[in-house]
Amino acid sequence: MAADTPPADDVLMAALAARDLSALAALYDRYGRLAYALAYRILGESEAAEDVVHDAYISAWRGAATYRRERGNPRGWLLSIVHHRAVDVLRRKTAFRPAPLEVAERRAADEDTALMAEKNVEQQTVRLALQALPDAQRRTIELAYFGGYTHVELAALMGVPLGTVKGRMRIGLQKMRRALEGTRA
């Protein structure tokens, strides 16, 4: 790989599929911090987060040949592996109990996010789009994605029908999509 200009993600994915270790290293340098931060946010433990990121990158290494660009960009693909594994670990560790909503929200919410996050435009945009949602929609999305709750668990937790949970997710994500498209246009 050329050393002067950083290779595009798609180039790295092709190299990864060809079993090029330097591509794996480059993808780690590029997304390792974000992957670790996501795993840590979901699990709240550094060792568990480290193991999840390790396993996710090895899974990407093994499965690079199966990656299809039309189903998402390499960053999204890689982070979806991290997310999936982290939620799996979380669910194995914590059998669901109908905890008070406030407790669940404390776990799902990252109180330090606003202080610690890098102030780049993309992060600000996503955060603003989420914060602009009505509370019920925002909490439902956060609890599902960062808290690892299934829709059935969320319905019990929030005391609403399953259809309401589904509707909040759908409408919330639609609003976020429009907001993100608006800022990227």
Binding site: R19, L21, L24, Y28, D29, G32, R33, L34, A35, Y36, A37, L38, Y40, R41, A49, E50, V53, H54, Y57, I58, S59, W61, R62, G63, A65, T66, R71, G72, N73, G76, L79, S80, I81, H83, H84, D110, D112, T113, L115, M116, A117, E118, Q123, V126, R127, L130, I141, A144, Y145, G148, T150, H151, L154, K166, M169, R170, L173, M176, R177, L180
Partner: protein, 247 residues
């Protein structure tokens, strides 16, 4: 084609479906371009959610751990590229693979079965026994990917020309919606040839005969399909590079 799953796509993208429910959506997506397209749109938003997270520096050792583990899986020539030399990290793998081979041995060679049981903690010995099962042939382990992690299958290519290749799967996940597993052999030109189609029998171990010899193919793979015949269109659930005997 099963009913569209548009009502569940947000839940699926956010990871909010239970495992069984998610499998059903995955199976539908394999044969439904319209739902895949809608999911891709939803995923653009979901994939942006990590941007909300405060960046956090991982331990310095993590990169080295990853690269070190990956370097042990770079394909090596000929017979060293077997499951037993590259994938023994997780406990379930050893148990599953050994159990898979045990089923084979029951059918093929009871003396070897006894040898296998005494060798469960000895990977090297196991490799020798696997060789015996293969009658001088070889074998490759296909590891379950993503949601299918924990499943796997060993492709055996027996050394005797009159014996067909076969796969012994372990911990196959049940399928829903009329879908089925398909075993493929892939050549260097990227042509996929279906070697078998089957549904899981609910047992921990399941053997499947292939109708196609493995010679001249470079990869084996398993997908989930809606049809018992035809081209591959479903998601990949496990795969391995292979190097047929004599190459």
């Amino acid at each position: 084609m099963t009913e569209h799953v548009t009502d569940d796509l947000e839940l699926y993208a956010l990871g909010a479906l239970g495992p069984g429910e998610a499998d059903g959506v995955t199976a539908h997506l394999a044969g439904c371009p319209a739902c895949r397209e809608e999911l891709a749109d939803i995923a653009t938003v979901v994939n942006a959610l990590p941007d909300m997270v405060a960046l956090r520096e991982p331990p310095a050792r993590l990169k080295e751990r990853i690269l070190s583990a990956a370097s042990t899986e770079i394909p090596r020539p000929a017979r060293r590229e077997t499951a037993w030399s590259v994938r023994p990290r997780r406990g379930w793998l050893g148990v599953g693979a050994l159990a898979a081979a045990a089923v084979l041995l029951l059918a093929l060679d009871l003396n070897s079965l006894r040898e296998l049981r005494t060798a469960e903690s000895e990977r090297a010995e196991y490799a020798l026994i696997a060789d015996k099962v293969s009658h001088g042939g070889t074998n490759w382990y296909m590891v379950g990917l993503d949601q299918w992690q924990g499943s796997g299958g060993t492709l055996f290519a027996p050394g005797k020309p009159d014996l067909s290749p076969f796969v012994v799967f372990h911990d196959l996940r049940p399928l829903t919606g009329g879908t089925m597993y398909a075993v493929w052999l892939v050549d260097a030109g990227g042509h996929w040839v279906r070697g078998a189609t089957f549904t899981p029998n609910g047992q921990a171990i399941q053997g499947v005969d292939l109708t196609v010899p493995v010679d001249n193919f470079t990869q084996c793979a398993v997908t989930i399909e809606m049809q018992a015949e035809g081209k591959r269109s479903g998601p990949l659930v496990m795969q391995s590079r292979i190097a047929p005997p004599g190459q």
